[in-house]
Assembly symmetry: D2
């Protein structure tokens, strides 16, 4: 795992507010648990609105949570003014989720000026339920 | 593209109801547009609840829509009683979405008794915004 | 599929030589079949050197062929001097290969100045054996 | 990471021979370095036959090595007689390789009777050059 000399604790602190209280984060109920250098955890409680027709948590919710932490983990470790766009990810589901809390943990495995590669593990009450890997394309601010 | 002699129009007709009116489909606002043999289209209107902190549609919503059609396209073409689980997918985002309607079109490219491979194209007012490919693992009913 | 006004037939013609007669292309035996605007086909004959311990074509050979056409399809359609790097891809295997010829067909589905998204279908004597999707990152030449 | 009570040291010991000395492993020059419970390392030296037209190691070689360890890591930890097929994987390239040795390390992150999910890290003289994640579908022996 790379070092993150650019880690900005103020950006990390601010993240909880704007991620949890606006748009999709607020609507689905994402709760930021931890934001550190190159690492972020975010959780979500299972509830009826988030189920599939078979009564299990819809895979789309886990996908959305993965996409969310994949991009968000980058902001505190890039120069201010950098624009980050999630350009792709891949996700394996390994177990169904029926109740409790789902937590996604993102870790940046590789970062250059223009690209971050991130892996995400998703657990449900400590059981592994999904594994993902994706790319965030970074656009540094103009000088 | 394979043939789908198992296509069950009654299951396809029923799909719109149970997919659009329950759980996550209802909560996010997925609207089933078309369900045919090995093919399905589903749409969603952009609205404030579905945005990211930058005012664009959150990638997680597109991910959720992709996951939704990836699994759902299989039901009308498998023997009744088959259980299908989306086991993995991969998604590339190619353009941001700011307004209008997002439509995901899923096509089954390969299907055996135990596995379907599906590709999904996502458009926003006819512009391509995402491309995906994934696997549904099928569990045939017991004899 | 996008238009490719930049298609350069001279680059396409030259591709067969440098791809088939140097390095890994020559060593594995890749044969370029067709290079067109946003589209490329490349084949390979099954032989003992390319098998796995079970006597089937090693998935790694199909992976290598996919990686090969994914990058190569871009050269004739980008401005001369552009550097292209395959940054990621995803591959599903759908059937084993035992004999005959394997052909990979790459198509560019989306292309901007900096990124191309490509899908690849792999067939073995007209049966589908693998499906892939990946990204080529483009670095335009300096002015 | 799961436990691997089924780990069979005799299968692990035999792996080096049949993987390194037959078919593609022998042809490309894969060298098994370590086979443990749920973990495997395999290396390869850069040489002219493995380059792309730009003089760097062809991404297809790294893809082939990833595919190789992804399947091979499973054999010592499944019941004898189990058939394992790599059904899909996803790979991110993070740095080019010009010389030296490339080493792929595979770890099984999740394993059920029918499916293993594996992550692979690839290094070149201790620098990370690629990250992958994939699925092996397992077919248990008939009773």
């Amino acid at each position: 795992m790379p070092d993150f000399p650019e880690f900005d604790a103020a950006v990390a602190d601010a993240a909880q507010g704007y991620l949890d209280e606006t748009g999709l984060g607020s609507f689905l109920g994402f709760k930021t648990i931890e934001v550190g250098p190159g690492r972020m955890r975010c959780g979500l409680e299972v509830r009826p609105d988030l189920l599939n027709p078979f009564g299990m948590m819809h895979g789309g919710v886990i996908s959305a949570l993965v996409d969310h932490v994949l991009g968000a983990v980058c902001y505190p470790v890039v120069p201010r003014g950098t624009w980050g766009a999630t350009t792709e990810f891949k996700l394996n589901f390994v177990a169904p989720v029926r109740s409790g809390t789902v937590v996604a943990t993102a870790e940046i495995l590789s970062m250059t000026r223009r690209t971050a590669i991130v892996r995400i593990d998703v657990t449900n009450d400590d059981q592994l339920v999904a594994l993902a890997q994706g790319t965030v394309t970074l656009k540094p601010p103009k000088a």
